[in-house]
């Protein structure tokens, strides 16, 4: 048997030979889905690679890739790998100043970007990145009058490449031949909850071996379809879209624009879907809002059948026997009347497997999708391990865990409770940071995840928080802030929460409500408001949030270990936490310490007995200007429950 291809370029050639006519990429352009077959993609990559080589791209050079998910940007990554170079995808919504660090750290000489917006950003920081000598753009719109010598359209680059290939017909194949599985395939910058981002170097071998395990795990094949809508700079997109398509030969579908993802989802009907919990949450919120606005017949029908689904849907999905015939028939009817049409509207009719990860998912959310027959599962992993550490196998899905370790992955719990991982997918290194690499990977080759967790009786891993974030209250009670925050965020009205309590005598919290859900709630009650800041000051909204906080407290009271970490006081922030203000990471995780420092005045007020506090904060708009928001914030007490009483009641 022929040796299986061990680098991405070899896989590309393999796919182009094995299934030349099968679709590899689709993109909706001018309202029509355009398709490129594997053979066509190989040709496109050849001209791009030759074009880059003609422009002086050397083996080992880094190629920055910035933009929304566009076929040509993926092809540019393939082309860089053909030449033995390393693609470095960047977050496309980062402001120019944030890009400087990565461009300098990775010593980027070439960039392939989507459009004028990204070109403008790069030209702005060009003086700080003297190594950057060539910027190629996909969409020429608005760039007609740009005369900078660094700029070149991808069309021109490909034309140059074709010319180059005519002169050196053997070049493409020779370059692919030079590639080694141990070469670095991609550098992915971690969003970094603390300090500067770190470049994670992953080799062809690590990514390909991991992707092979994944493809076998869920049985992916060429007939599968996936919609790639998550940032290209995120490891998930590289692994699930890029790496897996190379192995399974399935088709990557690129949305028309970020605003049309829901429509595109419906038109493509992917068979395989990945999203962080907030994506599933947004979808559900929109469904619920539309149902509330629907006629009473539809509303009644929806609620009746969702009741049925909640009772038996998950058992039917998991093939459990203890479902009565009547319930099975009712569920079947519900499928025709409610679940089927609903899944169709959401573009989930053809979905075989859906994954969520990155953060804990709410029970209501998780159950909702599973009960209507969507095989939603959780996974656990990070950039440094090619994600894949633990995953739920179909048929053994439990909400509170992230599943058992994947084949080939060793998981060990350190004495401190930290989760350690050894697998083929563990990164080669943090790019040019040997100290950080030594700190993260120990002598035995175990990667220290920084997460705290433990195995339950069924062999599933359960993650509770970041190891360094798990703290103690003054009286010694365990304080897991993320656990509390997630419990709060599971309410549809609450978007973000930031808990404080380490070393203090009680737990207090900042809350951001969900603008869409609360605005709708306010409209129903004829509450007049002008915007977020105004709503945040309304007593009715405070009462709404207090209800949520008190429900969390009631839950906590039933838990012996965490019962004393109930929330005593809270306030609603006057602005939404935003990545542009440095309060969230680009993947929208809360930067708790930074927020604690920035809003120190508010934290102090929470731990005093004051009932209000004046605050003025800077906020950055999308165009880079800044403005200030000021408000007099109210601080409210929440009812707490006695741990013993709750246990007696239970």
């Amino acid at each position: 048997m022929e040796e299986s291809p061990d680098t991405f370029p070899r896989l590309l050639l393999h796919q182009a030979k094995a299934r030349p006519g099968r679709p590899a990429f689709r993109e909706k352009d001018l309202g029509i889905w355009q398709t490129w077959s594997w053979a066509q993609v190989a040709d496109e990559v050849r001209s791009l690679a030759c074009g880059l080589a003609a422009q002086g791209f050397q083996r080992g050079d880094r190629l920055a890739v910035i933009g929304d998910n566009r076929p040509r940007l993926y092809w540019a990554m393939m082309a860089a790998q053909v030449l033995g170079g390393v693609p470095v995808p960047l977050y496309q919504d980062a402001v120019a100043a944030e890009m400087v660090f990565v461009l300098q750290d990775a010593d980027v000489g070439f960039a392939v970007v989507e459009d004028q917006e990204q070109v403008d950003k790069l030209l702005e920081v060009l003086p700080q990145c003297p190594r950057l000598k060539q910027i190629c753009f996909d969409d020429p719109r608005g760039l007609r009058h740009y005369t900078r010598p660094e700029l070149m359209s991808l069309d021109d680059l490909q034309a140059t490449g074709l010319e180059f290939a005519r002169r050196k017909p053997g070049f493409f194949a020779e370059e692919i031949e030079k590639g080694r599985a141990t070469d670095v395939a991609v550098i992915l910058y971690t969003s970094g909850t603390t300090g500067n981002p770190k470049g994670v170097s992953q080799t062809h071998a690590a990514m390909i071996q991991t992707a092979r395990v994944l493809v076998a795990f869920d049985g992916f094949a060429e007939k599968d379809d996936i919609l790639c809508y998550l940032p290209m700079a995120w490891v998930g997109d590289f692994l699930y879209s890029y790496a897996q398509m190379h192995i399974a030969g399935f088709c990557l579908n690129c949305p028309e624009s970020p605003a049309t993802v829901m429509t595109d989802l419906r038109e493509i009907g992917p068979t395989y879907y990945f999203g962080p919990p907030r994506v599933y949450e947004n979808i559900l919120t929109q469904v619920m809002i539309r149902i509330e606005d629907a006629s009473w017949i539809k509303r009644r029908m929806f609620h009746t059948f969702m009741g049925v689904a909640k009772r038996v849907g998950m058992k039917i999905l998991e093939g459990k026997p203890d479902v009565s015939l009547a319930d099975r028939l009712l569920y079947r009817l519900g499928e025709i009347l409610v679940y089927g049409p609903l899944k169709n509207v959401l573009g989930m009719s053809r979905l075989r497997v859906a994954y969520t990860g990155g953060e804990a998912i709410g029970p209501d959310l998780f159950d909702f999708y599973r009960s209507i027959g969507i095989n939603l599962k959780q996974l656990y992993g990070m950039t440094e391990t090619c994600v894949t550490v633990c995953m739920h196998p179909s048929g053994d899905v439990r909400l509170e865990t992230v599943g058992p370790p994947m084949p080939g992955v060793e998981v060990r719990i350190a004495e401190s409770g930290e989760v350690l991982v050894r697998s083929p997918g563990v990164m080669k290194e943090y790019y040019r940071q040997p100290d950080a690499t030594r700190e993260a990977i120990d002598a035995e080759g175990f990667f220290h995840t920084g997460d705290a967790g433990y195995f339950d009786a069924g062999g599933h891993l359960k993650i509770i928080d970041r190891a360094k974030d798990v703290g103690k209250l003054a009286d010694g009670t365990l304080f897991a802030p993320k656990y509390l925050e997630n419990k709060l965020k599971f309410f549809p009205y609450i978007k973000e929460a930031v808990c404080f309590g380490h070393g203090r005598d009680k737990v207090c919290v900042f809350v951001n409500f969900d603008m869409e859900a609360v605005a709708n709630w306010a409209e129903k009650r004829n509450l007049a408001y002008t915007g977020y800041t105004d709503l945040a000051a309304q007593p009715a909204v405070y009462a709404l949030v207090r209800e949520c906080v008190e429900k969390v407290n009631r839950d906590l009271a039933a838990d012996a270990a965490l019962g004393n970490s109930q929330i005593h006081r809270f306030l609603i922030l006057q602005k939404e936490l935003d990545a542009d203000d440095g309060e969230l990471t680009r993947t929208r995780k809360v930067r708790r310490r930074h927020i604690g420092e920035k809003y120190a005045v508010l934290v102090d007020a929470l731990y005093s007995d004051r009932t209000s506090c004046f605050i003025e904060t800077q906020m950055r708009f999308e165009d880079g200007r800044t403005g200030t928001v000021s408000a007099d914030l109210r601080i409210m007490e929440a009812k707490t429950f006695s741990v013993a009483a709750a246990r007696d009641a239970a």
């Binding site: 352009d29 001018l30 309202g31 029509i32 719109r141 608005g142 007609r144 028309e256 624009s257 605003a259 049309t260 429509t263």
Partner: protein, 262 residues
């Protein structure tokens, strides 16, 4: 798409145009010209006759005196549909779209004049009619892409926020592939971000499609940034004409806007 060009010879000449409704004089001997590929602004206080001027250009009003010369041919009385056939399209101060129809259908409606098949052929929708519709749809899709309104393609216009409706109306006008585009207060009632978007689109229409644009606008900063030349009307008379800088420093203009002690 075609590409824009340098500002060229006059494409539209307004010569001593006067318009009165009974005793009310709307325009009095107004003369100015519009050159090919330029952005020409008409400004003035309320009731200065700006919208009347646009209505004269596209044939809704017929002036009692004076003449309008468009693309070299002098005309006096044209109807709006004839003006449209000659390549003049416009948007309105109060949005004029079919509110119950989708964005796509509204834009398709903007191509009515270019459709050559008759009612019967279209009803059967086979052969020529089908090919024609596909060609028109392709053109409309280019406009949708150009104005970045893919996400609302199938949304009924009535459900869209105001700023987007304005953008759709611009699209509807562009669908006719006009030589001359008349925009009546394209930015009225918009917030800052919507104004920036609209300004960008107006510049891109002018730059990339090469369309000549005449616009009425109240927001002075927008007018001064966008236009190549500005004509100022006050009480139906032309009081100034020139580049934004010239107009800005013109004494009559300052008086008309800020008021003057009599």
């Amino acid at each position: 798409m075609t590409t824009g060009g340098k500002i060229g010879a006059p494409i539209l000449e307004i010569d001593e145009v006067s318009l009165a409704f009974g005793g009310v004089v709307a325009l009095q001997g107004v003369s100015f010209n519009v050159r090919e590929h330029e952005i020409r602004a008409i400004i003035g206080p309320n009731g200065a006759g700006k919208s009347s001027m646009l209505n004269v250009i596209n044939g809704i009003y017929h002036p009692q005196q004076g003449a309008v010369t468009f693309k070299g041919s002098k005309r006096r009385d044209v109807d709006p549909h004839q003006a449209a056939e000659q390549g003049i399209a416009r948007t309105f101060q109060n949005i004029a779209l079919f509110r119950g129809m989708s964005v796509l259908d509204n834009l398709m409606a903007g191509r009515t004049l270019k459709m050559k098949c008759n009612f019967l052929q279209q009803a059967i929708y086979w052969g020529k009619a089908r090919r024609e519709e596909l060609a028109h749809r392709a053109k409309v899709e280019e406009i949708i892409d150009f104005l970045e309104i893919q996400h609302i393609r199938k949304t009924p216009v009535g459900r869209l926020p105001y700023g987007l409706q304005k953008r759709v109306e611009l699209g509807r006008a562009l669908a006719a592939e006009p030589v001359l585009l008349l925009l009546d207060e394209p930015m009225a009632g918009m917030n800052l971000e919507e104004k920036q978007d609209m300004s960008r689109f107006i510049l891109e229409v002018n730059d990339q499609l090469g369309t000549t644009i005449v616009l009425i606008e109240h927001d002075m900063s927008v007018v001064m940034d966008l236009s190549d030349r500005v004509v100022v009307l006050d009480y139906g008379r032309k009081i100034a004409d020139g580049t934004p800088d010239e107009v800005r420093s013109n004494k009559d203009v300052i008086d008309a806007y800020l008021g003057v002690a009599h």
